[in-house]
């Protein structure tokens, strides 16, 4: 089983692009049971085929089956950060194919499992919690003014970090991800990234509450001489949107079901409007 020509002769750039595209395609068969398991296997297929090129050799065929089986295990992680796991797994698989005594194959899946949590945590809070919120917060405010720049800008803000993170994650993972990982965990780096993402995301949402909801009250006291909205504005502008968000937040935290909340929003909106409380 010493045929390693395919592993060594393939250029690293080609391998990295394979991790890149295949980490993006990792959700293509997302399902309830093992989630992204087939996606992960698909990501490693070129690597595994290079490790075990000769299917006519029964020993290699068995090793290849074993490797395919190994990567059908449960997997779920942000696609962009999955490139790191793909790169690291591929380098471990190659090592294992070169010298079967050098690595315990169980360690590969153990590594995958231990990385899923932190990398999804960082990946989701960065891409879904921060980048997406800012990109579409800006996009919506431009689109509301009728500008096509809204969606264009939202996509530009979304795509650039996604490409950069995926590429460097694949590179870091493949070229010595183990060392990098230890550095990341020892220096509070994970906590730090989460902390920064948290602040930026929350402040952006705070700004969106003040700018994008725009609910006001048409109610007046004593024959229209006392406009309630003016009083509210003098205390705190956009107080009603803030209160509405607070109420909805409390209902969500109470565990009210999504379907009911949608009904409450629509029915509540119509009733409050007819009663002249909100406009």
């Amino acid at each position: 089983m010493a045929d390693n020509t395919a592993i060594e002769s393939t250029s690293k750039t080609k391998k990295l692009w394979q991790f890149f595209w295949r980490s993006w395609a990792i959700q293509d068969s997302w399902n309830y049971e093992r989630q992204m398991n087939m996606g992960f296997l698909y990501g490693l297929v070129p690597t595994l085929d290079r490790c075990y090129p000769d299917e006519s050799d029964p020993k290699q065929l068995e090793a290849k089956k074993e490797a395919y089986r190994r990567h059908m295990a449960f997997y779920n992680c942000t696609p962009q950060t999955s490139a790191f796991v793909l790169g690291l797994s591929a380098s471990m698989e190659e090592q294992y194919a070169r010298d079967r005594a050098s690595i315990n194959p169980d360690a590969i899946n153990a590594m995958k499992t231990s990385l899923m949590g932190p990398l999804s945590g960082i990946g989701d809070s960065f891409f879904q919690g921060t980048i997406r919120v800012i990109a579409f917060g800006l996009g919506v405010s431009l689109a509301q003014q009728g500008s096509i720049l809204g969606p264009v800008l939202a996509m530009a803000i979304s795509i650039i970090p996604s490409v950069l993170v995926t590429w460097f994650a694949a590179k870091l993972g493949y070229e010595g991800g183990n060392n990098f990982l230890q550095k990341l965990q020892s220096g509070n780096m994970m906590d730090r990234i989460m902390y920064v993402c948290g602040i930026v995301g929350l402040m952006a949402v705070g700004g969106m509450i003040a700018t994008l909801i725009g609910a006001t009250t048409p109610a007046t006291f004593s024959d229209g001489t006392l406009v309630i909205q003016d009083i509210l504005d003098s205390i705190m502008p956009q107080m009603i949107p803030l209160a509405l968000t607070g109420i909805m937040y409390a209902l969500i935290k109470k565990g009210v079901k999504t379907g009911w909340l949608l009904v409450i929003c629509i029915a509540g909106g119509i009733v409050l409007n007819v009663l002249g409380i909100l406009a």
Binding site: Y32, K65, N76, A154, C197, I213, C265, G269
Partner: protein, 271 residues
Amino acid sequence: MESTLLNAVLVGLVGVFCMLDSRLLGRLNFEQPLIGATLVGIVLGDVPTGLAVGAAVELVSMGLVSVGAAVPPDMVLGGIVAAAFACLTDASAETAMTIAIPVAVLGQLLGIVFRSIIVVLGHVSDGEIEKGNFKAAYRMHIVWGTVLYSLMYFLPIFVAVFVGTDVVQAVVDMIPDWFTAGLNTASQILTAYGLALLLSMMLNKGMTVFLILGFALASYLGLSVTAVSIFAVLLALILSSIKYGQGGAQMAVAGGADADYDPLEDDDDEF
């Protein structure tokens, strides 16, 4: 009638494109109501309507992210159908969005069915590996996964647009003014709901102050979301270097196991 068929196919294909964004492109965010609705506006030749519906639905769906196994109401599907109705009938953005919500809930149900079907594909794939049919095994992912996820969007959108446009127009004609005004208010509350959902995922203990700060900058000082975001990045960088910066790290190393935790915990109490 022919144009209805063509429109239904075009809008369905927009849906397929948006769905495949998260399947094949690592969720670059084409799979967002704002983008889907704008694309519908482009294919149906009414970009301003697409933008308006997209913005309205996007705001509701901000907090509805698919994380792990939970499938939220599919607002991308809803947004695409709503944009098509708004472009093809007289419905306003708010009315179209209200029509879109039931479609979104239906889309959620369909999503559950399809994601369960793919579980079976996983087992077929297991079997193919045992037989040594490696190509067949990974084709379950890249071919059948793509096909099923595409159908999951194409079918409901096609049917809704093909059958529904006339029905929706008839319903829109009957809607009284007070109802339309009420829906406008409802869309504002729905936006508040969308942002609250987002917060329910993001808001940790001790972080509320940043939410209020962002709100205050925008409400009292009138800053835009862009300006607030830029201040937020700067503030986050400053605070994180105070919290995790060199001084803190050195103390932690020098102080041994106990001191590792103290600086962090003190910080948490402050916020």
